[in-house]
Symmetry: C2
Subunit: 281 residues, 2 copies
DNA sequence: TGGCGTCATACCCCTGCGGTATCGACCCGC
DNA sequence: GCGGGTCGATACCGCAGGGGTATGACGCCA
């Protein structure tokens, strides 16, 4: 199977529509139809069921979509890391990715400590939207990432645990619940005048619901202060809070674990150094 | 980058020789030379240094070899799992791979317990040479594997720990050391009349050394009985021992952990059932 | 220095990918 | 029930590029 075929397949699977997929790929519709038919013939598997409304995946197709995305990411990673290895000459900057606006204190400590190490290489910090860190690590755009259990998918990475925290609810100061000594997730989710905000999926779309659509943390804290929403955050978020906000511990929310993650078999000395420094914090 | 290019590159890297690689690939030498040159141009990276003796990898080339092999395994896995998904219809047999001759007691218990579960699917057991289990899991030839820390490379897999054991030295009954109550690895390795056996690498070649070349466990036990070698094994190997063999605990050998491993994001109900059963043993 | 081994280049052929035009099937509104 | 608007599939053509053979350039060794 060639990566071109996989890319074509993934495009059609994602669009559920040959015409749109062809447009996205920059080719005409007929060759794409033909390529998919040929792929199905070669695999001996029906990948789509054709309907008058477009194409829907069969279960074999779903397998190929899942596995094929991982395979494409691996190929892209190989290409990117090779490109970077050439620029490298051994002392290329390490690309570290983290969630914008999270773990800033920990990150600052880590970067300072690492920079003080003998032989430290430059660290490019790439702040990306929530959930994108793992993707960037998988496709080679980043060398190392700060991720959060249980939110990020850590499968396939080597990780070192850095921090375990309880979660708290941040709500407007003066709200009736703000004087509670502790709340459950159930209670926090069902306050009618404080709907929890909605975060975008990986593709940029938003789940349905009553809460505001949000992209970053400063936004949400402002809205909390205005009494429009409340939010569950790891305990370390307290450090960044200003006036107008109240904090209530959540008794039954899952603990949040902050980890540093890197692709298995990484040979970058920069990654090794960062990880070593991180585990000593 | 197309998988064809990657396959060509890996062949040349492994053979260090365009002609031999071309033969292995079933094409002529000139197109292969051209393909490599084109790949280097497109990546903007020198992958090989040309010598009159052949091609040797640059450091960028080593990066691409490592990453490229993983990528190719991922593509092959996608293809195999899709092929198997079509035959599937939901109740395809699960392929479990394990080291020939190891963990047989544990495996028997696992297979029996799983077969007794409601809704259990068939399990194809593939016994493969030491070290091949992880490869089979990576390229989709197997769905789940029994692996051993620290010998197997578990990176990139989800695992559940099944068993932790100390290691012991197996030597001929009556050997002077057989009456020792405990030995160090150092001591066990330096007995002049009992050189430790050599196991094949993944490519089938053997490391240099004085000990006998071996492929499987019954062979080695026979040679131990004949006083030609000794071997370090996990404690559970005692169960299979017959007369003529002595066992001495090793005080400083690393513990051996037996795990059940599967590819992340596996959706196979058979794998899930096996893992669930295994963790309850 | 000639012979042998390496990989690179030159040139040709033909497969197979992508393009345009068109078809067949289905859904919908009237 | 019939035309128009969706789909994806098919037919056909042109050409880029991958693969073939023949040969060259270069370093090593006897």
């Amino acid at each position: 199977m060639e990566t071109r075929e996989l890319r074509y397949f993934v495009a059609v699977a994602e669009e559920s529509h040959v015409g749109r997929a062809a447009e996205r790929l920059g080719i005409a519709q007929p060759p794409l139809s033909r390529a998919i038919a040929q792929l199905e013939r070669r695999l001996g598997a029906q990948l789509f069921t054709r309907t008058p409304q477009g194409m829907t995946l069969t279960s074999a197709g779903e397998t190929l979509l899942r596995e094929g995305r991982a395979a494409l990411a691996a190929v892209e990673a190989a290409e990117r890391r090779t490109r970077r290895a050439v620029a490298a000459a051994g002392r290329a900057p390490v690309v570290l990715t983290a969630k914008a606006g999270a773990s800033s204190e920990l990150m600052a400590k880590l970067l300072d400590a690492y920079a003080a190490e003998p032989g430290a290489v430059d660290v490019d910090v790439v702040l990306s939207p929530p959930g994108h860190q793992a993707l960037m690590l998988r496709d080679g755009r980043a060398d190392v990432a700060i991720l959060h259990r249980p939110f990020d998918d850590l499968s396939g990475f080597d990780v070192e645990q850095l921090l375990v925290e309880e979660q708290v609810l941040i709500l407007p100061a003066g709200h009736p619940l703000s004087s509670a000594t502790s709340l459950t997730v159930e209670e926090a989710s069902s306050v009618p005048d404080l709907p929890l905000p909605r975060w975008p999926h990986l593709d940029g779309s938003y789940p349905d619901g009553p809460g505001p659509e949000l992209r970053d943390l400063t936004q949400v804290l402002q809205l909390v202060r205005l009494g429009r929403t409340a939010i569950m955050l790891p305990d370390s978020a307290r450090a960044n809070l200003r006036d107008g906000l109240a904090v209530v511990p959540l008794s039954d929310a899952p603990q949040v674990t902050t980890v540093i993650a890197w692709p298995p078999h990484s040979t970058s000395p920069g990654v090794a150094g960062l990880v070593r420094t991180a585990t000593r914090l």
